[in-house]
């Protein structure tokens, strides 16, 4: 167990080095929310979201932090693991005296550190350029922590499970990115959720991103802002329930589907 953890720790460092040094991954999984926050926050600076004087940037920040969970975990892993399966990384590891769990500890640790760093930068950018205010109550910070953890857990497991879908590492981003994009458009990240058609809102309700985004709005918007939600409430309990269900489902799928060797090899 000790060995599993100590190798896991050295894998976290290795994974982080690779994550940040790979230009595609650093931009696509890490920098994108900052870039989008600057663009959308500036373009829609004067858009009214329908509650007091809250700016679109404040509304959008919640969506970007929620998207960051999806980027650093699901999108990152669902693209990186097929590439590792293709370039013999996984084969090399299978031939080493490495506990299999250490590999997943390395992935989860990388996701966690990348997300925390991303949130810190997003908040700094938001405060400096868009006058965003930090959560005001302990309750909101507590919610921020549990929704982040549940979101990272479920989306990490789903990313590991989804890594079996792309046939080749090369085409993985072309499969994964559109899924993330569709979820963002339908979950109220780029537009105010209630402006979307009802069927789209219903569609998004099946997936984690809508709940992550909505809960992040609770964290970053002031009291009373729930009136601009579709249900008129923050639905924190329901959100926790949906994310827990996806975590359990993601774990089952990851255990069932994950494979070390490329397709056609056993």
């Amino acid at each position: 167990m000790n060995r599993t953890l100590s190798i896991g720790r050295s894998r976290i460092i290795l994974e982080l080095r690779q994550f940040f040094r790979d230009r595609e991954s650093a931009i696509f999984n890490f920098m994108l929310p900052m870039i989008l926050l600057v663009i959308f926050g500036s373009v829609f600076a004067n858009q009214d979201i329908g509650f007091e004087d809250i700016t679109f940037a404040q509304y959008f920040l919640a969506g970007m932090i929620a998207s960051g969970i999806l980027y650093t975990s699901f999108q990152n892993l669902a693209i990186a693991i097929p590439m590792e399966r293709d370039d013999s990384t996984l084969k090399r590891l299978a031939g080493l005296p490495m506990p299999k769990a250490s590999y997943f500890i390395g992935k989860a640790g990388m996701v966690f550190v990348a997300y925390v760093a991303q949130v810190i930068i997003l908040l700094i950018v938001g405060i400096l350029f868009f006058g965003i205010s930090l959560p005001s109550t302990a309750d909101r910070w507590f919610t921020f922590i549990w929704v982040s953890i549940l979101g990272l857990l479920s989306c990490t497991l789903l990313g590991i499970a989804f890594s079996v879908v792309p046939k080749q590492g090369k085409g993985a981003s072309a499969i994964v990115a559109p899924i993330v994009l569709v979820l963002q458009f339908t979950s109220g990240v780029f537009f105010v959720f209630t402006n979307l058609p009802t069927w789209m809102q219903n569609f998004a309700s099946f997936f984690p991103l809508k709940w992550l985004t909505q809960t992040m709005r609770y964290v970053f918007l002031p009291d009373g802002a729930e009136v601009i939600e579709a249900s008129g409430e923050w639905q924190l309990g329901l959100s926790a329930l949906v994310l827990t269900a996806w975590t359990v489902g993601g774990l089952a799928l990851a255990l069932l589907l994950f494979r070390w060797s490329p397709r056609g090899e056993k």
Binding site: R17, S88, K91, A94, L96
Partner: protein, 281 residues
């Protein structure tokens, strides 16, 4: 003691028989080279022994353990040099070798290993920026970092220039002198001749010959070709008694024989002959 024992191994992919009844053994401290054309079953055999694939039938033992059920302690005693050249690209040589040392209970000193494979000057370079030969040397470094008792070398010098190949050989010679058992697959017959104590020629999933490189396929007993220059023209003669022929020639020339050459069939001649004989079966 036998480090590797293979008995009637068989592996079929769909309706392609990759390995068809292969048996051989490698003694502790010995280097065995597997030679054979592409698709002959060398890599499949090696991958079964490394634990990456399961045989359909037959038995295999590496260090007394069935590779299909080799645990962590068993893997710690192996070194595997893969035919991989794209992974670890964002790390430096130094980072990769130091990281891999951490998987093993009693690793070699990472900086010594980097020195031994001749990458000290490149230690801070990203692996993705290494030349083909340098990259293979990194793979060798990662294969030997754990002080393996059995080392698998799968076509280790593909793409090396002759000087780099010589350097690589002296590195492997050093490992051999330390008692490492080596299973080598290669396309270079010169390499097998230099490194291997025995070579096994594989064709169509079977071993067609297995012996010391100097004796395989009747090389030692075969006819020697003696050639010389006589009044401006090249002459040659095959003989089972080359020494007597040379003595006769020497008498005729009254001492030195112009442009004298004595040639045994090379390993390549013998190898191609063995493959041809196999095809004609």
């Amino acid at each position: 003691m036998q480090a590797i024992e293979v008995e009637s191994l068989r592996k079929v992919y769909g309706d392609v028989v990759a390995v068809d009844d292969i048996s051989f053994s490698v003694e502790s401290g010995e280097c065995l080279a597997l030679l054979g054309p592409n698709g002959a079953g060398k890599t499949t055999t090696t991958e079964i022994l490394e634990g990456f694939r399961k045989a359909d039938s037959g038995s295999a033992k590496v260090l007394g353990v069935d590779p299909a059920h080799g645990g962590m302690d068993w893997k710690a005693r192996l070194g595997i040099v893969l035919q991989a050249d794209r992974d670890l690209g964002e790390l430096t040589v130094h980072e990769a070798v130091h990281h891999f040392a951490g998987y093993f209970p009693n690793p070699r000193d990472p900086d010594d290993v980097i020195e031994a494979v001749g990458l000290t000057a490149k230690a801070k370079a990203r692996n993705g920026k290494l030349s083909g030969g340098q990259r293979r040397r990194l793979d060798v470094a990662l294969g030997v970092i754990g002080r393996p008792e059995v080392l698998f070398l799968d076509e280790p010098t593909t793409g090396f220039d002759p000087a780099a190949r010589r350097e690589f050989w002296s590195l492997i010679d050093q490992l051999k002198s330390e008692g490492t058992t080596i299973l080598l697959t290669t396309h270079y017959l010169e390499e097998a001749e230099h490194l291997a104590d025995r070579v096994a020629v594989i064709a169509a999933g079977r071993i067609v010959a297995c012996d010391a490189p100097g004796r395989i396929g009747g090389r030692a007993e075969g006819q020697a070709i003696v050639s010389w220059n006589e009044s401006g023209a090249e002459h040659s003669e095959s003989s089972t008694e080359p020494t007597r022929l040379i003595a006769e020639l020497s008498q005729r020339f009254g001492g030195e024989i112009p442009e004298l050459q004595v040639r045994r069939p090379t390993l390549e001649d013998t190898y191609l002959h063995l493959l041809k004989a196999q095809e004609e079966l």
